[in-house]
Amino acid sequence: MMRSKMWKLSLYLFIVGFILNMLGIVSHVVVSSFAKRWFGGVLPPAYTTDWFAYAWKNFDLGQVLGVTLLIVVVVVVLALAIGFPAAYILARRNFRFKSIILLLYFLPLVIPQMTYGIPLATTLYRYGVGGSVVGVILAVLVPMVPLAVFVLMPFFEQISVNLEWSGSMLGASRAQIFRRILLPLMVPGILTAGVLILVNTISNFELAFLLGGGGSQTLVVALFYNMFAGGVRPVYSIDAMAVIYMGMVMTLLLVALRFVRPTQMVFKLDR
């Protein structure tokens, strides 16, 4: 009994430690973004909000945010539009090469983006779309289309095929079945998939970095480049930019968690 108590206790200590470490990491960035200056010491001696204005002006954040939102919206819409019909077929039908297709769709999710990003960037630059907003969208869609398929599939599997049969027996056409039966029942699935694609696209670094050029940097990529200009930019202004990014992600995540269970954020094993 004693040993199992100790075990449970160490478990909770680890969780508390990990949470404190996460909160520390995040709040260090937040505190630093409000600091006038901060060398050592537990808290900065004086606070200011000037760094946000500085970051907004000097990092051209208006333009960067605009590009980020454009990319995110287009990726979400396209990934859902391409993934939705594929998920329907893969959930409903049996055919010979199904497992090969599933494996093919699984690969972009498990192979690191850096590994396929370099040949992909090479190809896209050769066709002249590298370094543009279109290039970033095309590249980010590579993992997002399969993500849409794999998130939507279980939702289709939960909808009884009898509903479709009853509909067609009562004289509904394919289009009517789609619009009046499948689409309304798929709303939770579409929301889940949409939110996951949204969060993943905003925080996507590798592909957006390899394909993004001057006017097509997303917020994360701009953040990375400005950290590198280190020494040139005050660290507080970079942290202010990081806080703006964090605010955006956290808002989205809070909205997301109203619809999505956290454990759905990772793929299911052994389907």
């Binding site: 680890f14 537990v42 594929a86 093919l104 590994t115 992909l120 990772v266």
Partner: protein, 294 residues
């Protein structure tokens, strides 16, 4: 329309083709084709006509380049082992639910959603030599000199751990909580101690999931890029293989050599996956899934 449901015969018709085609074309054109093109390009160095292995020979004869393989392995393997052991321990302890589970899991997945860049910036501040972590340890009198945890090997390990741990933990939690709890109860009733239950009953059932988790975490760690630059020494001890590939492509504009390095990187990952798959064959499949907590 469909006459027989769940029939073994093919149900592939015009509608299926029409629905599947856009996504299939996308994956073929944007994923498979660039891969093949990358392999082709890597075999065609700019100054030589026809096929040649010159890029690969150059990579494997330059210590500055081939040492990146060793550096990457020495980052990825320890990280994967630590992540896996801790995630298994935590997920196993949480298999029947814990206090405030939803809040805890939400905070645990924070690093996934914040993204690696923000995480690295936070680690730079928090674990830096003047950060709160070192201030706390100094204040408690545990250490005399601050730990140097950034701009070195330890910093990259730290970032990789924060990134991979939540992912691995959630995967294992899903897997473990799917194991039929009555198996454990029967074992306990028949007199097995908790450690025997874990070793003889649960671990064999978890092993296949553990193997997949190992493979995924390892492959992702092997491609570490932004955190190796921001938290490590990208010119020295943490110059990983993806940094080498990036420099060839975007600093020297030698796409052919960059593709060769990307191919080497892919092959290393593939080799690790094959080892895991072969190892997994020898493990018994879990036939008791899907009855647990969820």
């Amino acid at each position: 329309m469909r006459a027989v449901a769940n029939d073994e015969k093919s149900e592939f018709d015009a509608l299926a083709l029409f629905c599947l085609l856009p996504s299939l074309l996308y994956v073929l054109c944007m994923f498979v084709y660039p891969f093949l093109y990358g392999v082709y390009l890597s075999l065609q160095p700019p100054k030589i006509d026809g096929f040649s292995f010159a890029n690969y020979l150059a990579f494997f004869s330059d210590p500055y380049q081939y040492s990146t393989i060793w550096i990457t392995f020495s980052l990825a393997i320890p990280t994967t082992v630590v992540v896996l052991v801790l995630a298994l321990w935590l997920a196993y302890g949480m298999r029947r639910g814990i206090f405030m589970e939803r809040t805890v899991t939400t905070i645990l997945i924070m690093p996934i959603s914040l993204g690696v860049i923000l995480l690295s910036e936070g680690i730079l501040g928090f674990y830096g030599s003047q950060g709160w972590f070192n201030q706390m340890l100094l204040g408690l009198g545990l250490i005399k000199e601050p730990f140097i945890l950034t701009h070195n090997y330890a910093g990259v390990m730290l970032a990789l751990f924060m990134q991979q741990f939540p992912f691995c933990f959630l995967m294992l939690l899903g897997y473990i909580s799917g194991i039929d709890p009555s198996l454990e109860r029967s074992a306990r009733m028949l007199g097995a101690t908790p450690s025997i239950v874990f070793r003889r009953v649960m671990l064999p059932l978890i092993a296949p999931g553990l193997a997949i988790a190992f493979a995924l975490v390892f492959v992702m760690s092997f491609a570490v890029f932004p955190s190796a630059i921001m938290l490590g020494q990208p010119a020295g001890t943490t110059r990983t293989i993806s940094i080498a590939a990036y420099q060839k492509a975007f600093e020297q504009y030698d796409m052919s050599a960059a593709s060769a390095i990307a191919v080497v990187m892919g092959l290393c990952q593939l080799a690790a996956l094959l080892v895991i798959i072969l190892f997994r064959r020898r493990l018994s499949p879990a036939a008791t899934m899907g009855v647990g907590k969820r």
